[in-house]
């Protein structure tokens, strides 16, 4: 198992933040950094996913692995993520339906976007498997499936020219903002909650940044010099979000998505804010790591096993929502829900690593 490092640490923090934020209305929500900025943990999560692809597709000395191996590696990861999405969605729908039956309360069937599944199962079942029907909060993994699916194009292109990969990615992002390209939801109207054509930019940025950071002293120098700029952006984000200052989407000029604060399309304001966060916090891990003790190990453990932790976290945050609704909420319920959730996330990470350490016995006789 690899030692705690900055990437795993921040990814762990993003996972914890996503878990807490996916129990809307809970007391601890206001203590997550998402409440104090224009961008949130989703940006961090996708960016670090790109960074990790950079690490995974190269040897320790930085030589890229064979192309076919990279393609197969990404394909295999895509399948894993798809499987996780299908499993967690199925469990979530059963939890919602089961709780509605148990509490004799059909209100729960209208839980974020689940209504369609229960009212219209024939179409929705198909949409469920095609990933075009997504429950609220269960919409990150579909994005991730698409991103990993198209990642080989960018990864292989970047081996020829990083600038070309970044250019292609940015062009796709800009076009999607201007022409509002997105994958449609089906059944139901509207589009994906996370637009893959826009969010791919963060993945590619993560991937390219990892490479540049590794080999370009110039890049490292400038990223340190720009720390003050990052801090200014972070402070601006705090001010804007605390006072809820944001552009009126009906007042801004066309194309509107360039100017609004829109999560679906990763609008430029969110992107710039996230880059500011990145600049401001890039060196923080080195400062924090010696001082946080076991927290570092805990968060890095979550980050190392991000898919399993994320999946379990999605289920647990839904369970947390149901418990809060059933009991009526309150600080103590929130403390219990979030506390036991954080413990369960830690256990998940430990359990996954224990399973992979355990030597597999050859298949036992049935």
């Amino acid at each position: 198992m690899r030692e705690p490092n900055a990437i795993d640490f921040w990814r762990g923090l993003a996972l914890v933040t996503i878990f807490v934020n996916h129990i809307p209305g809970n007391t601890f929500e206001r203590y997550t950094y998402s409440q104090y900025g224009i961008s949130d943990a989703a940006e961090l999560f996708v960016f670090l996913a790109g960074w990790s692809i950079g690490i995974a597709t190269r040897g320790r000395d930085g030589t890229p692995e064979p192309r076919l191996k990279t393609v197969l590696r990404l394909l295999s990861r895509t399948i894993e993520v798809y499987r996780a999405q299908i499993t967690t969605m199925a469990i979530a729908l059963a939890m919602i339906a089961g709780t509605a039956l148990l509490l004799d309360n059909p209100l729960l069937l209208e839980w974020h976007n689940a209504g369609g599944f229960f009212a219209d199962p024939i179409q929705t079942m198909v949409g469920f498997v095609l990933l075009t029907h997504q429950l609220g909060f269960f919409n990150i993994l579909p994005l991730y499936v698409v991103l990993l699916g198209i990642a080989p194009v960018f990864v292989l292109l970047a081996r020829v020219s990083r600038v070309a990969a970044l250019g292609l990615s940015f062009a796709l992002y800009a076009c999607s903002l201007v022409f509002e390209w997105n994958i449609p939801s089906w059944p139901g109207e509207g589009d994906w909650f996370f637009d893959p054509f826009c969010w791919q930019l963060l993945l590619v940025l993560g991937f390219v940044a990892q490479d540049w950071n590794r080999r370009s002293a110039w890049m490292r120098l400038w990223s340190t010099r720009l720390v003050p700029l990052g801090i200014v952006l972070v402070i601006t984000g705090i001010v804007l979000s605390v006072w809820e200052i944001r552009p009126d989407p009906l007042m801004v000029p066309e194309p509107r998505l360039i100017f609004t604060f829109d999560k679906t399309y990763l609008s430029p304001a969110r992107l710039i804010h996230f880059l500011g966060v990145l600049l401001a916090f890039q060196t923080l891990y080195a400062v924090l790591a010696p001082r946080l003790g076991p927290v570092v190990g805990y968060l890095a453990g979550l980050g190392r096993n991000s898919l399993a932790v994320f999946s379990v976290g999605s289920i647990l945050s839904l369970a947390g929502q149901l418990v809060r609704f059933w009991t009526g909420g309150g600080v103590f319920v929130d403390l219990f829900v979030v506390g036991s959730g954080l413990f369960a996330l830690g256990f998940t990470a430990w359990f996954v690593e224990w399973r992979s350490r355990k030597p597999r016995s050859s298949s036992p006789p049935v």
Binding site: H22, P24, G25, A100, L101, L102, L103, D104, N105, P106, L107, L108, L109, E110, W111, H112, N113, G115, G116, F117, A119, D120, I122, Q123, T124, Q134, G136, F137, N139, E180, S185, W186, P187, G188, E189, G190, F193, E244, R246, D248, P249, L250, R256, T260, F261, D262, T264, Q321, R324, F325, G328, G329
Partner: protein, 299 residues
């Protein structure tokens, strides 16, 4: 299984042309001129399974933007937002039914319904999301089923109320009409004080902002009193009521909109000589004669 019953009811709901004529007949023949014991007559323009008295169903207010669209003879764009608003596909879902019911109620008018579901946002987050949806669709009318997710998340009442109020104000400030729909009624939440305050809060905001409200909660409570069969837990009487509520919602919303369009303009600008009554289907005339004066806005 109440399948035969359900299919009959469904047929009744769909065959509105026949049903409207039938309802008209009933209105003149069956219903008493004055309801007994002060009980209010059912709104007979609704299909039989969905009938509730007008005061249980809506509070009315003017819909200027829709009226303007009707006057200009351009299609009316409607944005339906809320928990039952996703799931377009089967012909029986709420957005499809809404479009059909509105077009039936406003003959010769093209109504385009766009529906969107919230994806986890509550309170001010939902407000922000809604603004982006409105900017994307640019509707004449927003029909917002609101309160369900906030109730599920046990959002602070005042935070919910002020976010809703701000958003309704914002929509109105852009000369777009709003109709609010409050959350559903179910027996297990009838005594939940928090839940009923969320329902009341929606009503409060609608009254304060002068926008029509469809009282889904009251309508379903009325329907539940009629159809109580006392079946046990897990067997689904509440779930059947919920299905009925979903089937009736489009009709109920349409009724509130049609009657809101009939609201007289207080400040008649004079330029528009003919009132908007032109758009009203004939069946309303019969109904108006039979039913009591417009319902009060008080619960």
């Amino acid at each position: 299984m109440a399948l035969p019953q359900a299919s009959i009811l469904f047929a009744a709901g769909v065959m509105l042309a026949a049903s409207a004529a039938w309802a008209q007949g009933v209105a003149t023949v069956v219903s008493p001129p004055k309801p007994p014991d002060g009980a209010e007559a059912l709104d007979l323009t609704l299909s039989p399974e969905c009938r509730v008295p007008g005061s249980k169903l809506y509070t009315l207010a003017k819909l200027q933007a829709v009226k303007l669209a009707l006057k200009d003879k351009r299609p009316v764009r409607v944005l339906a937002v809320g928990s039952s608003s996703a799931g377009l596909g089967a012909s029986a879902t709420y957005p499809v039914k809404l479009e059909t019911a509105l077009e039936r109620s406003l003959p010769e008018v093209d109504v385009v319904v766009e529906s969107r579901g919230m994806q986890g946002e509550i309170a001010s987050g939902a407000a922000e999301r809604l603004r982006n949806m409105v900017a994307e669709v640019e509707p004449d009318l927003v029909i917002w089923q609101v309160g369900t997710h906030d109730a599920l998340a046990r959002v602070d009442l005042d935070a919910f109320g002020s976010a809703l109020d701000d958003t309704v104000k914002w929509i109105k400030s852009h000369a777009i009409d709003v109709v609010l729909v409050n959350p559903l009624y179910t027996a297990s939440l009838a005594d939940d004080e928090y839940y009923t305050s969320i329902v009341r809060k929606v009503q409060e905001v609608a009254t304060r902002e002068g926008v029509p409200l469809v009282q889904r909660y009251e309508a379903m409570r009325f329907l539940s009193a009629r159809s109580e069969k006392g079946e046990g837990h897990m067997l689904g009487s509440q779930f059947r009521l919920n299905d009925l509520g979903l089937r009736c919602m489009a009709e109920h919303v349409t009724r509130a909109i049609t009657l809101s369009l009939l609201q007289p303009d207080p400040a008649s600008t004079g330029s528009s000589g003919t009132p908007a009554v032109v758009i009203v289907p004939p069946k309303d005339a019969a109904m108006k004669a039979a039913s009591p004066p417009p319902p009060s806005t008080e619960p």
